[in-house]
Structure formats: structure tokens, C-alpha cells
Symmetry: C2
Subunit: 375 residues, 2 copies
């Protein structure tokens, strides 16, 4: 209600010039300690807080970074990692006086009209790019107006901005090996949205990993990675005469949808079908047994991405930031294959000759409770 307190009010009260107030309050040099103290006092008494608007205009900085959530607002809840990611961003920004601006959802007409306006009006000093696609139209847009950006998990060739990327290959290979050693030979794959770079990479990694262990993914079910998508996939795959003994999904949501439907069709998890997800969303713990998945670190990714972006605001192109690799969330949805050809159980490893990785593997294969069933 009270009238705005401006820098001029503070200057008047402290009996100094406006410029001195600015210098004093921004911890710049060129102000005597005595004067600085007097100014601080005056500012406090008046409850002065510098207007971001004036500051923004004159300093040519918005003190804000943008996150462009590239999906329709009504589908925001499809991204279960969004809150954690945003939390990470926030945790970094708030230590530096920056804030996060959410820039509109998907462009309706794909002409990016509104989107470009948001970038061009200099509301933010830089943006975080999520859900990056092949030939993402945002990239030329950003280059065009010269807005700094940081990519999230997008190692596509020639990407012009620094990238925060979490390696998932180790986790995937371990899981692949686990599946193969558990006897799985018919492994299906549920894809994520086709245009996403990340979906595509994940798929490649799985394909290569399984191939290296002698298994060709088959069939591949194209989808959008949603829960319903997983349900559909289960319907389709498990109805066939030779259903897969294991399913790998590009997202936890799809994995959970698959699990639900497969169960409804009478398949037990993991005795009849093993399931592996990807992401590490909280809902994975609701499944019983808990979903085995590749746990990424959205909070950490958000924090690192924000930090990288803030740095980018100054300099030119910075090096990519690696993160600790994604880990495996063990869970209980991997079990021995019923079609196992070599039923020889691995000899119990002794402590000494125990390969640490193999040890992990064995832990990951949960012994089916009713393991005395026929197979």
C-alpha cells in the first residue's frame, strides 16, 4: 500500500547522491565505510528494496533464466521428474539472486510465435533447454537473438550450447547383462517419444548393450512413453503366442503401465515377465515389487544446469558438465527367465573370487518367491 521507496528516497534520507547509494548497496568500492553505513541504515529504515525493473533496464540483465517446458501445459504432469528438476534449478538460482521463469508450453502452431516473442523480449538472460529434439527449432531461434542456453541431456552433434549430461550407459549395460544372465532372450523395448534426442539415445544404448551380450531387442514398440502407452504395449505384446520374457521401457511411466496391464492379463512379475524402467520416478516405489529402473538425478541435473547457465551468461561457450552416472534402482521386477535354456545356477561366489559387478548382478535378480514353480 505504501508508496514505493526508490533509490532517491534513500539518497535524500542519507544526505548523499543517488550514485553513492547505488555503489554502497551493491558493495562496490569507492564509498567510505562511514558513508556506506549511513546509507545502509537509511535503506533499512525505509525498507528499501531495489526495483528489479529499473535495475534490469539499466544493467541490461533480467536476473532471471527461463525454462521452456516443451509440452502442452495440460501434459505437464506427464513429466514426473519436473518438480525435482525445477527444485534443483531453484536451489541454485536462489543463492545468486536469480529466479526461474517458466516460458509457455508447446507452440500451438509450431511457428513458435509466442515462443520467440518470449525469448526476444529479453525477459530472461538465458534458458534451459529440456526435452531437446532432433532439429529442435528452438536452437536457431536462440542463436538468432543471441540468448545463452544450456542443454539438458542432449548430446546431439553440433549442439551449440553447453550441455549437462548424465551418463546412463554403465547402468544400462549392467542391467542388460543382468537380464541376459538371467536367461532372457526375448526382450521387448518400449520407446519414448520418437523426436526426442534422449529417447533416441537411450534406445541406442540399450540396443548396443543387449547386442553385445548376444540379444537382439525384439520387438520394439514405438510409443510416447506414457503410462497408457505401457498399458497398450502390454496388451499388444502379452497377447501374442510368444510373449517376451522381459521388457525394457524408455520411461518408468510406460514400465508401470506395462506392469499393471500385464498383471491384469495374468502374468506375474517378475516370474512371468521381467520389467525395467528408466528415470527413477517416485511412483516406481508403489509397484510391488518395486520397479527396477535406471535412476537419474533430476535435482542434481537442475542445479548443475542452472549453475552452468549462470556461468554462460558471462563467457562464451563452456565445456559440457558431466555428472555422476545414473545408478540402478534395484527393485524386484527382474527375475529368471522361464525360457531359460541353461538352468545351471551360478556357483555361489565366495567373498574372494567375487567379481564386484557380478555380485551386483546377482543381487539384482530377485529369486522368484514361488521359485519352485515349473521352469
Amino acid at each position: 500500500m505504501s508508496e514505493r521507496v526508490t533509490i532517491a528516497d534513500v539518497a535524500r534520507r542519507a544526505g548523499v547522491a543517488i550514485s553513492s547509494v547505488s555503489s554502497a548497496l551493491n558493495d562496490r568500492s569507492g564509498v567510505s565505510e562511514e558513508t556506506r553505513r549511513r546509507i545502509r541504515l537509511a535503506a533499512d529504515e525505509l525498507g528499501y528494496v531495489a526495483s528489479i525493473r529499473g535495475r534490469s533496464l539499466s544493467s541490461d540483465r533480467a536476473y532471471a533464466v527461463g525454462l521452456i517446458v516443451r509440452r502442452a501445459p495440460a501434459a505437464f504432469d506427464r513429466d514426473s521428474l519436473l518438480p525435482a528438476f525445477v527444485g534443483g534449478v531453484q536451489s541454485m538460482l536462489e543463492t545468486r539472486g536469480y529466479v526461474l521463469v517458466l516460458l509457455g508450453g508447446a507452440p500451438v502452431d509450431d511457428k513458435l510465435q509466442g515462443f520467440r516473442r518470449l525469448m526476444a523480449d529479453r525477459r530472461v538472460d538465458g534458458v534451459l533447454l529440456q526435452d531437446i529434439r532432433h532439429n529442435d527449432p528452438r536452437i536457431p531461434g536462440l542463436l538468432d537473438i543471441g540468448l545463452p542456453a544450456v542443454g539438458i541431456d542432449a548430446h546431439s552433434d553440433g549442439f551449440p550450447f553447453p550441455v549437462v549430461h548424465q551418463d546412463c550407459n554403465a547402468a544400462i549395460r549392467t542391467l542388460a547383462r543382468t537380464l541376459v544372465e538371467a536367461g532372457h532372450g526375448r526382450i521387448a523395448y518400449l520407446t519414448g517419444p520418437r523426436p526426442h534426442v534422449r529417447s533416441w539415445r537411450t534406445r541406442m544404448l540399450w540396443r548396443e548393450a543387449l547386442r553385445d551380450y548376444g540379444v537382439v531387442i525384439d520387438p520394439v514398440v514405438e510409443g510416447d512413453g506414457s503410462f497408457e502407452d505401457g498399458e497398450r504395449a502390454a496388451e499388444q505384446l502379452m497377447a501374442g503366442r510368444e510373449p517376451p520374457t522381459a521388457v525394457v521401457a524408455a520411461s518408468d511411466a510406460a514400465a508401470l503401465g506395462f506392469a499393471r496391464r500385464a498383471r491384469a492379463l495374468g502374468f506375474r512379475i517378475p516370474q512371468d515377465v521381467s520389467i525395467v524402467g528408466f528415470d527413477g520416478v517416485p511412483a516406481g516405489r508403489v509397484l510391488d515389487p518395486t520397479l527396477t529402473t535406471v535412476r537419474t538425478s533430476p535435482f542434481l541435473i537442475g542445479a548443475k544446469a542452472a549453475a552452468l547457465l549462470l556461468e554462460s551468461l558471462g563467457e562464451r561457450k563452456l565445456p559440457d558438465v558431466p555428472l555422476p552416472p545414473a545408478e540402478i534402482e534395484p527393485g524386484g521386477t527382474i527375475g529368471p527367465s522361464r525360457n531359460r535354456e541353461r538352468p545351471a545356477p551360478p556357483p555361489p561366489p565366495t567373498a574372494l573370487e567375487c567379481d564386484p559387478i557380478a555380485g551386483t548382478l546377482n543381487m539384482l535378480v530377485s529369486r522368484a518367491e514361488g521359485s519352485d514353480t515349473a521352469f
Copy 2:
């Protein structure tokens, strides 16, 4: 990369005054059609987009609203409804040229230092208040600096801002009746965070509803509404010698945690214990059977709240906005009580004499599959 195109550039190119450009581009009257067209053309050719900074300073509006997520950034992922809510807000804002600014998490020292700064620097034109607490310190802060606000689901007395509120009483009463008619007499309650107005209200509504049907909630387990909290509650409640036959939780997360742990302890759902959640989070569908809960409408709430806030930017206090009441998400976690005292099954209702509400009730009580078990 290219230099910024300013309004002066457009004016020069079109051969008119700056003020004319402003008027023309903002669809104000006082500009001839001919001039307006010429100006538009010049602006297009130059790729001019008005700087929000200059506009903001001179028009005294930020064209942004803030959302203060009142929890630590690391706990953002505890709010499973956040994405949907934010999506709703976004869907409304983007039609009006506004954006959403996320204002820092919880104040560390509870002195609201950083928080007040964010409000006071006029970065936003108004804020959405979520997770409102009793005697919420944000309220005097907002009143102090005269920033408009809208409350989400906070019907506390004397709340000085308009509120968007979704009625849950009907849903709760129906569920209460369902539980009681299913024979449940020992019903436990898992609370949400104590200081939240919403938690408190939900609890009151459940208490009153069940009391009206002759059941006193007992015991009440205080908690924070998290998944782990639900797990703890299960541990505590189901270990006793007289475990409840039904549990009502103030959040789906707690309900799901409870379900998981209860199962691990050997209790079947819903045969041994019925569970009712609150919120309608996506993860509820992962539980098998699906979680019975009160489904709120976070997207709609977000959209309405944003709309209300935008209106508030002009006028004084506006009336509260009611929403369609929360509905029940049927699910399968309610079953007949094992301790049922009056085993008389209700006579099959004919189409004619069927009370629509009672009809709903019957649907909600899923017949336990092994209903021929002893009870």
C-alpha cells in the same frame, strides 16, 4: 548476436515518431490505418519485439505473476500435483502474455529475508499462495507491500485475498458412508503436515463425516503426508493387536506408503484393510488395486487461480471462485470389513428404487475376490 532492435529503430524506419509506434503496436487509437500499417511493416521487417524491461519500467507492471512454493527445493518432488497445477497456471497466463515466476523455496531462517526481497522488488504483479499455513507469515508481508495475491484452497478465517477452492466435502462424505456401510468401525487417519490449513480442513471434514455416520476416527496418526510417513504409520498401526480395518490418509503419498508396508506385513488390500487416499496423483493408478481417493483438479485450480489473480491486478478484493467439487476416483482399495457386525447384504437395488448415491456406494465397495473367505 544482432544488435537489439528498439522502438526508435522502428520509428526511424517507418518515418514516424516513437510515440506513434507505441500507439500503433499496442492497438491504441489515434493512429491512422495507413500509418499503422507502415509501422507494422517496419516492425516486422526489423523483427522488432518490445523489450519487457522498458515496458515494465514505464508501465509499472511486470507482466509476470509469482508462485511461491513453500517448501525446500529439494522437496519439490514431494508435491506430485505441482506439475499439473503449474500447467494450469501456465495455460491461463500464456493466453494473456504473462509468465510464471517461481519464487524461492522455503525461507531458511524463517525471517523471510530473501523471500521478502523477491516480493518487494516488483518482479511480479501478484502471487499465488499455495500450501497456506495458519498465521502464514507471507500474508502480512504481501499486505505490507501491497502485492495482490490469490489463495489456493485456503479457507481460513480472515484471509485477505480471494481464494480458489475446490469443495471436497461431498466426496469425503460419500466415501465415509461407503466405509461405514461396508462395516468399518475401526478407522485410522493419517494426517498431513500439521500447520497446513488444507490438511487441517481435510481432517475436520473426515472427522465430521465419519462421526455423522457413527464412527469415531481412531487412532489419528500425525505425520507429514509423505510416502515414508505412510509406511511408518502402517508399521505402527498394523503391528498392534487390534489393527484398523480401514485407513484414511490426507494424501495419496501416505496412502500408497501405507499400502505398500501393510502388504509387506501380510495384509491384503482391501480384504484385510481398506485404504482411502486424497489428491488423485497419477501414482495412484500404479497400485493394484487402484487407489480409491478424492481426486482434486490441480490443472483447473491452477488455471482458475491464475485467471483470478490477473483480474485482481486491477480491482480490489474479488469474490472467491468455487470449482466443481472434487470427485471420487473409485479404485479398488475399499472392501468389506472383516469385523463386519451386520453381515446382511443390501438387497439388490432395482433400477427404479435405486438411490443414485447408494448406487454409487455399492459400486465403490469392490467385492473382495476371495469373498468366500470367513467373515
